[in-house]
């Protein structure tokens, strides 16, 4: 029974997409009903796999049409769900379910909602299929569906100029990525005569010849386009900004992660190349550059969603750096950060959407003072902002800590100064992340209310609900990260490292051994250093103590006064004696000293982000060439 769940979850979503397209016109209720119902069932099906896969350590395999391997060759399409795939599957279903709920409230004013839900279900199904499949060509097909659904959704609000432009860029650049993947898959098929990932893994066996290196380089470059690693990141910024916010959330929570999943699957399982220091260095350098460029570009933005888009790029840099270390701890940290990124970035996109719904703009220079109008959104935003900046006790702190520890441990044991530089970059990027979220906090939620927005009110409950769930998840995964580690991360990381099981489950017991495949040793990482729960208790205790001290001192203390209603100069903002007026220190006004000192850097960056598709395409091709060249030189 249970082995049908993964394929049912994927197929149900595809079915839902067609049903919405056919019957969606009848009534909005049927349309929304089909979309939410299929999303919910698929969520339940995937969550039901936690027990067997994560806890009992099973690997679920499923041959489509019961087409099992013939004479030792896997011809049919196989689904294979190990803990790594399920880990990403859980992220995917959680994200698209919350996004679906959110869209119910968010899309109030849009036309063509039927198209939206059709594409939304296609996108969800393709990403879910991508992370659950065990077939390389099936993976490519899912990438294609994902890319084209994303392109169409980017252009969904096509009344904005930016939407079509972004969709066009996405289309061209995404197709380059897909083509590279396809070329790689074709080369692999030529060498291995199979498309099943388990079998490819055992045939290649971590030994490379010229064809497989070429294939490896092409596939990794193609997946880099999907995960938006600098310099492949260029379509991301526009697409995230132009797409409806519920879709931006899916982009950063799922589409992005699909690329990351693909990279992990390729380098750890299919090609098993992570023991090579050249590949480690390559990935860590790309990761470090990605996080640095992402965050510095984010600091310069003055659009809420665009800023978040560049942060998505930057945080993926952390993930790539961590998984590029090739150690158990690094992989663990990378997975944890990928998960946290899905949670907090999704949350932040949702708050951006709430601001957009309430005020009609995401321009950081025009907003301000919304904290009194939108208290729930503000609290959720602050949770997300503190999480992404890595302040304790939120989840970002736990995962970033693991990342730092993993990189610096690697640096210490290998003595490679490049890794130490990556540690420094990671720590500095964290502060810059904090800075850019302080900028958003000041420019959107605090400060003074723009007179244009004096009538703004909080978003409806259906939009608050996903935000609150995500905020609670952010806090919970930060506080109980030991449980997360035990039930989700450790199985997933272990699954990525124990290739033998993966091959055997698919191709039959003993197949891997006969092909001479051995696992990378899994060492459980120890994280006894920080027990957030105890510290939370302490935090509460001190808070109480301070409160008691203040309360008992009430007789002696000065009163706390608040403005009653009528205007009173006593409560007015201090303007050196002048009459109070609207004067908000907005997004572009902040961090002046920093921007002055970095003028040269930003000039170069501005030149590089020219907005011309041919430029961007050339970056992608050049970077792919570099990756392939490095592989040719170092991996033979």
């Amino acid at each position: 029974m249970i082995q049908h769940f993964p394929v049912m979850a994927v197929m149900l979503l595809f079915l839902g997409a067609f049903l919405v397209a056919i019957f969606g016109r009848i009534s909005p209720f049927i349309r929304d009903g089909i979309a939410i119902l299929t999303a919910t069932i698929s969520l339940i099906l995937i969550y039901a796999l936690i027990k067997p896969v994560m806890i009992d350590g099973q690997i679920i395999s499923y041959w489509m049409g019961n087409w099992e391997p013939v004479e030792g060759y896997a011809i049919g399409i196989g689904y294979e769900v190990d803990a790594l795939g399920l880990f990403f599957g859980l992220l995917v279903v959680t994200t698209f379910w919350l996004s679906g709920i959110y869209s119910l409230g968010y899309l109030k004013k849009d036309a063509n909602k039927m198209h939206y839900y059709t594409l939304y279900l296609m996108l969800s199904a393709s990403v879910l299929g991508l992370v659950l499949t065990g077939d390389l060509f099936n993976m490519f097909i899912m990438i294609e569906i994902m890319t084209f659904a994303s392109v169409a959704l980017t252009a969904f609000r096509n009344k904005q100029d930016i939407a079509l432009e972004a969709a066009f860029k996405y289309l061209v650049l995404g197709s380059i990525g897909s083509s590279m993947t396809l070329a790689g898959v074709a080369l692999i098929y030529r060498v291995c005569h199979t498309l099943n990932m388990a079998q490819i893994s055992s045939i290649i066996g971590g030994q490379f010849n010229l064809t497989t290196i070429m294939a490896f380089g092409l596939i990794v470059s193609g997946l880099c386009v999907k995960s938006y690693i600098v310099p492949f990141h260029t379509p991301a910024a526009d697409a995230y900004t132009a797409a409806p916010t519920s879709i931006s959330m899916i982009f950063s929570g799922m589409v992005n992660k699909a690329g990351v999943y693909g990279i992990i699957r390729m380098v750890y399982v299919v090609f098993r190349a992570m023991d090579r220091s050249s590949l480690q260095t390559l990935l860590v350098v790309f990761g470090a550059v990605t996080m640095f460029v992402g965050v510095t570009m984010a600091l310069a933005q003055h659009d809420f969603k665009r800023l978040l888009a560049f942060h998505s790029i930057s945080q993926i840099g952390y993930v790539i750096t961590a998984i590029g270390l090739g150690t158990a701890l690094g992989l663990n940290a990378g997975l944890f950060h990928a998960m946290n990124h899905t949670l907090f970035k999704g949350l932040l996109f949702l708050t951006a959407g709430a601001v957009l719904t309430a005020t009609g703009t995401t321009n950081l220079d025009k907003l301000g003072g919304l904290s009194k109008k939108m208290p729930v959104t503000t609290v959720c935003f602050l949770v997300g902002a503190f999480s992404i900046s890595g302040l304790p006790p939120f989840n970002g702190f736990a995962s970033k800590w693991m990342v730092y520890q993993a990189i610096y441990e690697k640096a210490s044991s290998s003595g490679n100064f490049l890794f130490a530089a990556a540690t420094i970059t990671a720590l500095i990027v964290s502060v810059m992340t904090l800075a850019s979220f302080i900028k958003v906090t000041q420019a959107v939620f605090f400060g003074q209310v723009n007179p244009e927005h004096s009538e703004v009110s909080e978003v409806p409950f259906i939009m608050q609900l996903p935000m609150v769930i995500m905020a609670l998840l952010c806090v919970a995964t930060g506080l109980f990260y030991n449980k997360v580690q035990e039930f989700l991360l450790a199985p997933a990381a272990k699954a990525a490292l124990s290739v033998t099981n993966y091959i055997d489950r698919m191709m039959g017991e003993g197949y891997a051994e006969s092909a001479g495949v051995a696992d990378i040793l899994w060492q459980p990482a120890s994280f006894s250093f920080w027990n957030p729960l105890v510290w939370l208790v302490l935090f509460v205790v001190i808070f109480l103590a301070v409160y008691i001290a203040i309360a008992t001192g009430r007789k002696n203390r000065g009163a706390i006064l608040e403005n009653g209603g009528a205007y009173d100069p006593k409560y007015a903002t201090f303007f050196s004696g002048e009459q109070e007026e609207f004067s908000q220190v907005g997004g572009s006004d902040l961090f002046w000293g920093f921007k002055t000192d970095w003028k040269g850097y930003y000039k170069v960056m501005q030149g590089l982000h020219s907005g011309i598709v041919t430029d961007y395409a050339s970056y992608i091709v050049m970077a792919a060439a570099v990756i392939i060249l490095v592989m040719f030189i170092c991996m033979r």
């Binding site: 302040l391 502060v431 904090l434 605090f446 303007f575």
Partner: protein
Amino acid sequence: MLNITNILMLLFFVLVFPGALFTSAVGLWLAGVDRKVVARMQHRIGPPIRQPLYDFLKLLGKETIIPHAANKTVYLGAPIVGFISLAMIMLFIPIMGFTAVSGSADLIVILYLITIPGVALIVGGSSSGSPYAGIGISREMVTMMAYELPFVLVLLAVARKVGGGALVFSMQDIAAWQAANGSLLFHWSMIPAALAMLLVVPAEVGTQPFDVAEAETEICEGPLVEYSGAPLGLFKLNTAMKMFVMSGLFTALFLGGLGTGIVALDALIFVLICTLVVILCISTIHAVTARLKIEHLFKFYWTFVAGLALLSLILVWCGL
């Protein structure tokens, strides 16, 4: 593990020594010494050393006005959060041999906990809704970015020096290593890092010439512009505590291992060394310099100070 004695011990650690009470008492003492020393250097008599305490108590007795543009919860909660995190940092810093809480990776906890008072100040100031505060938080954040790079480099250099090939982030191990091999300040490859750290301390605390964020003569005390009464007093207390935490961190990183083994005596020595550090790197610089501009501050930290720290890191990396 969590029996009643342990909880009581923990509470004592958190509330009295070396937590809230001890930290604030020593912080106020250091702030008083700082003001007195600066006054003497400028040929003034200066306020009594108890002066910061008087300031704090007086502010408790004043009215607290919440401006109508402010978000009340954040406005009142921010200083308390800053206070709590500062009291908690002292639990991780070994007072010579004695640590209240030990772990295996304390340096990064400290690095992050130390940013929280700054973030509290920024968020609190931002929530008050004043444009002066807006400019103030912008400068505070740039200052934070400025000193964070050298700070991180110093911490990594120390971790590498103590750990060698292995990974050591634990303050306790650092203290133990120094007890065995002599204080880090006396290893010549660490001297540039110590100098860099001495320059990080005043920026973190926010004293002249690095008080661009709270420049009272140009932007009306920046983030604190709308604060009055008890919350303002708490912020002033936080600044004083930061002085102790930062000088204590310097002492623990570079002059650890000088303890005698008796906790009370160790604490006394620790406070004395902290006082010296404060006089050296806060008061002296304060007395002889004028306030920097924010872009100069940033450049100074990312070139000169970070260069010193990087020099140390490279030396240590080469095994010196």
